[in-house]
């Protein structure tokens, strides 16, 4: 069983530069054809200062952590038995190419179901920009299969 005393644990924050080339590659990989996400002129015409970070890309930027497996290793979770159960975003403002975003991850909850056959880890990540303004909150539920 995962040690429940890690509920409330906070990881050291880290910063990630939003690179325009990554945003264009993400648009290609997700079949996004709206030029707002790939063309500076289209983004400007739509009122954006630069290419916008699309709704789920904050999750990808979060994986740019110095050690993306930090929480998994801290809790001793075998990634072969790990599933992504739920993902949520609450948005405060847009983020753009050129922004430097700060991610602060914490472990909000750890619980189990089916007599421990399934364990759930809820991670909360607060994202702010280089001006200290709130951008979003991410909520990730990971599921560990113990049977």
């Amino acid at each position: 069983m995962i040690d429940r005393t890690y509920i409330g644990h906070v990881e050291p924050p880290f910063e990630v530069l939003v690179e325009k080339s990554r945003l264009k590659f993400f648009a290609k990989a997700t079949g996004q054809t709206d030029p707002v996400y790939t063309d500076d002129a289209a983004a400007h015409a739509a009122g954006h200062p630069a290419l916008p970070v699309p709704p789920t890309f904050l999750f990808c930027l979060e994986m740019e952590a110095p050690d993306p497996a930090a929480i998994r290793n801290l809790l001793g979770m075998d990634y072969r038995r790990l599933l992504h159960g739920e993902q949520g975003f609450v948005y405060e403002r847009m983020a753009y190419a050129g922004d430097v975003l700060r991610f602060e991850q914490s472990i909000e909850d750890i619980y189990d179901k089916k007599n421990g056959a399934l364990e759930f880890v809820v991670r909360k990540t607060i994202v702010t920009n280089q001006r200290g303004e709130p951008v979003a909150q991410l909520r990730t539920v990971s599921v560990l299969r113990n049977s």
Partner: protein, 140 residues
């Protein structure tokens, strides 16, 4: 570029324009692996996958969530999205034809904004639900 829909014109039960996708290919997963930074071999390396007991690679759940994100930004500008969440209900397999749909389930006012709640789904051609979720959109 999408424009905001008038809140008054949107009704509970309305379907937003669906998004139909081509069959999921190995190239899709390889591109998403690189673009997303999610290098979990379960999505791209069949030799690894065979050691886990699965018959083949499976699509990234977050790729499906990105497709549902396209469904939303095809309907309204991204600046209107307040909340967006999904539950990963079933694995998406190579060759499956996935459709993304959304339905208005609620209209309400919050923080001085007129908002709608959408239920969201991705499903294969047989109707098996892969992702179910919801979004909150501010329309005025």
């Amino acid at each position: 570029m999408t424009s905001l829909k008038p809140w008054a014109d949107v009704k509970v039960g309305d379907l937003i324009p669906a998004l139909a996708l081509p069959p999921v290919s190995r190239l899709d997963l390889a591109l998403y692996c690189g673009a997303s930074g999610d290098h979990n071999p379960i999505h791209v390396d069949i030799d690894f996958v065979r050691t886990t007991g699965l018959p083949d690679v499976i699509a990234h759940g977050m790729l499906s969530m990105a497709w549902l994100g396209r469904l939303l930004t095809n309907w309204v500008p991204q600046t209107a999205i307040r909340e967006y969440k999904v539950r990963f209900a079933a694995m998406t397999q190579i060759g499956e034809v996935i459709g993304c749909t959304g339905e208005v389930t609620d209209k309400f006012e919050h923080a001085g904004e007129q908002r709608v709640r959408l239920s969201l789904t991705t499903a294969n051609a047989e109707g098996q639900v892969k992702l179910s979720g919801e979004a909150v959109i501010a329309l005025a």
